[in-house]
């Protein structure tokens, strides 16, 4: 634990730029799996909990979530300069490549093998995202109520047609209330 939280050298701005370039460029299905993999597992810039904290914050803010994760991770590690580095990495090159690919695709329309490849990549990307969530849940395994809330949120989202915002804020209210009660009992 103590080992995980120790921050060795300040993260370089170039490394932040490169990390979020990678997140964006390889990020099929939103990039969250990559952001967690690079920030927590590969570079060990933050603990699992700190990353989950940033992710929660971004979920509850308006705007495109992934760019929010770049902005906040950059800010957390290197302040304003870090934010600009992470944001530029996330946007500039991948934006230019993505836009050009899109224009090409719109010109040459459907080629079957493209669709087949993309189909295989999406199937794998779905698996990565599921595994990312399970990994993030591991630090909470000692707290049954947290596992219950996560399972309930998952169930409501997958098996009902309730609007996303209702689930997000409804479950947040439930979970915060339970946590509040738990905390006041502990004191």
């Amino acid at each position: 634990m103590a080992e995980q939280q120790k921050i060795a050298d300040p993260v370089s701005l170039a490394a932040l730029f490169a990390a979020f370039l990678q997140v964006s460029l390889f990020g099929f299905g939103g990039g969250l799996a990559w952001a967690r993999y690079i920030v927590v597992e590969q570079r060990r810039w933050t603990s699992e909990e700190d990353f989950a904290d940033i992710m929660s914050f971004c979920q509850f803010m308006p705007g495109p979530n992934m760019i929010g994760i770049a902005v906040c991770t950059g800010a957390r590690l290197r302040g304003t300069a870090g934010t600009i580095a992470a944001m530029s990495g996330f946007l500039l090159v991948p934006g230019a490549i993505g836009f050009s690919l899109g224009m090409l695709y719109l010109r040459y329309t459907h080629i079957a093998v493209f669709r087949d490849i993309l189909g295989g990549v999406s199937a794998a990307a779905a698996g990565l995202l599921i595994a990312t969530g399970i990994r993030m849940l591991l630090p909470h395994r000692g707290r049954p109520i947290a596992l219950f809330v996560a399972a309930l949120t998952f169930g409501v989202m997958v098996f009902t047609n309730l609007p996303f915002l209702a689930v997000l804020f409804g479950m947040a209210l439930v979970s915060l209330t339970v946590t509040q009660i738990e905390f006041s009992k502990a004191q």
């Binding site: 964006s24 460029l25 990020g27 909990e49 914050f57 979920q59 803010m61 308006p62 705007g63 495109p64 979530n65 992934m66 760019i67 929010g68 902005v71 906040c72 800010a75 957390r76 934010t83 946007l91 991948p94 934006g95 993505g98 899109g102 224009m103 695709y105 093998v113 087949d116 490849i117 189909g119 295989g120 990549v121 999406s122 199937a123 794998a124 990307a125 779905a126 698996g127 990565l128 995202l129 599921i130 595994a131 969530g133 399970i134 990994r135 993030m136 849940l137 909470h140 596992l147 809330v149 996560a150 399972a151 949120t153 998952f154 989202m157 996303f164 997000l168 979970s175 915060l176 339970v178």
Partner: protein, 178 residues
């Protein structure tokens, strides 16, 4: 060609919608659609849907890319750039300034509760979005096997995820999943 005021109107709308899109930009897509298709007739419904599918298929900042396609349709290259800026600019300023504030109260008791209470909700949502994605991508047991294998590899090994994605793409490209 559309007039300059069209570009101003589009970007103002995107900036406003992005700043209120709780739960991510996809939540305001219906409003963007009605604005550019129904209200202004800048593109057809089919074109808008194609932009969405395309942005999903391309890696990168999906929603920002999609809005650049929309802007390109309305005002060419300058339209694409301005629309992308309008989609992420104001939202980033908001993320940054509120996060600074949030970070300043890191050790406050209410934030400990918020942090511990909110994490399981967002984690549940992550796993759910993986499952929803799997439901869309896995048409039969073969694709479902790829999803399960990818999840297992990611959980049990420290393999770089790019190999998992490439393996999925190769299987797809060879027609194994068709």
């Amino acid at each position: 060609m559309n007039s300059l005021s069209d570009l101003v109107e589009l970007s103002a709308r995107l900036a406003m919608l992005s700043s209120i899109s709780f739960g991510g930009f996809p939540t305001v897509l219906p409003d963007v659609r009605s604005f550019v298709v129904t209200t202004h007739g800048w593109m057809t419904d089919q074109e808008f849907t194609n932009f969405f599918a395309l942005a999903q298929a391309i890696p990168g900042p999906n929603m920002i890319l999609m809005m650049s396609f929309v802007g390109w349709k309305v005002w060419g290259m300058p339209g694409a750039i301005v629309s992308a800026l309008a989609t992420f600019g104001p939202a980033c300023v908001l993320y940054f300034s509120v996060y600074r504030l949030w970070d300043r109260f890191r050790s406050a008791p209410w934030q400990r509760i918020a942090r511990i209470g909110l994490a399981p909700v967002t984690i549940g949502l992550v796993i759910a979005s993986g499952a929803v994605m799997a439901r869309a991508a896995d048409h039969d047991w073969r694709a479902a096997t790829v999803t399960a294998a990818a999840a297992a590899l990611m959980l049990l090994t420290r393999l770089n995820p790019i190999f998992v994605l490439v393996a999925g793409g190769v299987l797809g490209g060879l027609g194994v999943l068709r």
